[in-house]
């Protein structure tokens, strides 16, 4: 007769997230999309570096600005392109069936996938930051003059923003296809980086209804402008502590909200 050793307790969210996160991470680092985006980032880095060589006045500003943009684009694209495919891939390949037959909830599963994506984003972010700093040091004297706390926070904000985008992509992917999730998240990314333009458009509209819609959209859509410190980094402007704290809190709030919504939506999704 078999020994009836039993594990009646449900696994904790931490252990589920660890297990799913690890498998997701090891799966994503084999994904060709990741390497294509990283390769594009390196090409952009070097383009910025060579462009700075052509400038006599402030070459460090070009490296700073171009480099930060590259880190931002690379992290955001990885978050969107990989995040949008994580859940649908599980359904397509039916790997979710066995996972959900275990005593775990769908919300825990989504959280685990997010943890895996987060690990990939952190790894890519570290790699990009390192390349960025190496490039800054290669442009003579620029590492000293260019490196500042503003730059450190700007890089940190890039990471937060990419996590937010990853969460939004996961949220969309719980109820639509991978391609539509990518399109929607890209839309959010573009609009979220132009919230002030949206507000400006609202003030210029004649119709009250149109104005209300624009203002409502500006209030509801995630505002990525809070995380865009490119201007301040380029010109070495100081950063208020309150902005850092509030932006970080805002970022974590959006992440939590998106994960909660994704959990709610996937609960209703038919397997």
């Amino acid at each position: 007769m078999i020994k009836n050793e039993r594990w009646f307790h449900s696994p904790s969210t931490v252990s589920v997230a660890r297990a799913i996160g690890k498998v997701t991470f090891s799966e994503v680092i084999r994904d060709k999309i990741l390497y294509n985006v990283i390769l594009c980032a390196f090409v952009l880095f070097f383009m910025g570096f060579f462009a700075s060589r052509l400038n006599f006045l402030h070459p460090e500003r070009i490296v700073l600005d171009f480099g930060l943009l590259t880190v931002n684009l690379s992290c955001s694209m990885i978050a969107i392109l990989i995040g949008a495919g994580l859940i649908p891939k599980e359904f397509e390949r039916r790997t979710i069936y066995v996972a959900l037959s275990r005593p775990i909830s769908k919300q825990q599963f989504v959280f685990g996938k997010f943890v895996g994506l987060m690990l990939v984003l952190v790894l890519n972010w570290c790699l990009q930051c390192l390349s960025y700093l190496v490039l800054l040091s290669l442009s003579s004297e620029t590492l000293v003059s260019g490196f500042s706390w503003t730059l450190t926070w700007a890089l940190f904000f890039v990471l937060i923003q990419s996590m937010m985008l990853g969460c939004i992509a996961i949220l969309f992917s719980t109820f639509t296809t991978t391609s539509l999730s990518i399109v929607f998240t890209l839309g959010f990314y573009l609009i979220g980086n132009s919230i002030s333009q949206l507000r400006l458009l609202g003030t210029r509209l004649q119709s009250g209804m149109g104005r209300a819609v624009m203002e409502g959209a500006a209030a509801v859509l995630p505002n990525f402008e809070h995380f865009n410190l490119g201007y301040k980094v380029t010109y070495g402007l100081p950063l208020e502590r309150s902005l850092v704290g509030l932006s970080t809190l805002y970022g974590f709030f959006v992440i939590a909200l998106c994960l909660a919504l994704a959990g709610l939506l996937i609960r209703r999704r038919e397997i």
Binding site: M1, I2, K3, N4, E5, R6, W7, F8, H9, S10, P11, S15, V16, R18, A19, I20, K22, V23, S26, E27, R30, R93, R94, T95, Y97, V98, A99, L100, S101, R102, P103, I104, E270, I271
Partner: protein, 315 residues
């Protein structure tokens, strides 16, 4: 004997198509799986086998009725911790090794790392995969994947194993190996529920059987009760002198020659007694006496044909 899994008056429907129309897949399904039994679940493709299995594993919720695992609703965590599930096409993350898969699903079942580490060598040797524990699944054959699938289903010592078409897509040797593995697991006292559309697979290893057709359970119970149905016929093969006279013997409902002598079919116990008595009188050499029972296949085919006729009559 108690039951470990009860399906009580279950209806299941899902929405499909552009207009999300409801489609009924299961209708008033009821069955019970006794403890320590090997339960075969038969049905043609599209009959509703996988849908019912998804309800049993808590992946889906019935529209009506209840599915209970040890008295707990199948969707609860307690019920799911008692079930080991092998899906029809056991797709796993193919970058993982057999060991990696077991670690993953063990953790999801709530086992600690130490418990998983201790269990892996044992479970891999049961399914005969200990030699390939570090092979990535993308390099594994279908039979090996099936074994890994069964191993992950058993990693957390479930009290019932639910296997969805465990022998599908395997070659004859693979089928035989999986059949033997199921028999071995059952001999250790596990309750095994498995679906198949291949009747001989079910017939050879199950002690309980149910079959489903167009979402309705057509029959359910011990396999013997189905096999005992229909008239008892016996095949008697013999050789000896004066073979020609036997073709006229009234007890034989059919008779034919073979290389060793004659093979005749007799109906009923009385007929068998008479023929055997006569053969012994004539000093014939009896080669074999084999009862011919109605096979599950016959029953299944008969039931399918009956349903087709009923549908035709209604039209």
């Amino acid at each position: 004997m108690g039951t470990v899994l009860d399906v009580i008056g279950v209806d299941y429907e899902f929405r499909s198509g552009f207009w999300m129309r409801r489609k009924k897949v299961l209708s008033s399904v009821s069955l019970s799986v006794p403890e320590n039994s090997v339960f075969g679940f038969l049905g043609a493709n599209g009959a509703g086998k996988t849908s019912l299995i998804h309800l049993m594993t808590g992946l889906r919720k019935p529209s009506e009725g209840k599915v209970l695992v040890f008295g707990y609703e199948a969707q609860t965590a307690v019920a799911r911790s008692k079930v080991g599930y092998l899906p029809e096409r056991p797709y796993f993350h193919d970058h993982l090794t057999a060991e990696g898969v077991l670690k993953y699903y063990g953790a999801l079942a709530g086992m600690s790392r130490a418990q998983v580490r201790e269990r892996i060598p044992n479970i891999l040797s049961i399914v005969g995969m200990d030699h390939a524990k570090n092979v990535e699944l993308r390099h594994c054959s279908k039979g090996m994947l099936q074994r890994v699938g069964i191993a992950q289903a058993m990693i957390h010592h479930p009290e019932i194993l639910i296997l969805d078409e465990p022998m599908s897509g395997l070659d004859p040797i693979g089928r035989k190996e999986i059949r033997e593995l199921i028999v071995h697991l059952a001999s250790e006292g596990r309750t095994i529920f498995f679906s198949s559309h291949v009747i001989p697979d079910v017939e050879s290893i199950c002690d309980q059987v149910a079959w489903i057709q167009k979402g309705k359970v057509m029959g359910c119970g011990p396999i013997g009760s189905f096999l005992a149905q229909g008239p008892l016929r016996t095949e008697i093969a013999f050789s000896g002198p004066k073979l020609e006279q036997w073709s006229q013997f009234p007890e034989f409902i059919s008779i034919r020659k073979n290389s060793e002598g004659l093979r005749g079919t007799v109906e009923g116990q009385v007929g068998v007694d008479r023929v055997l008595f006569q053969l012994m009188q004539e000093k014939a050499k009896i080669l074999w006496v084999t009862p011919i029972r109605m096979s599950l296949e016959d029953l299944f085919t008969k039931s399918t044909e009956q349903q087709k006729e009923e549908t035709y009559d209604k039209k």
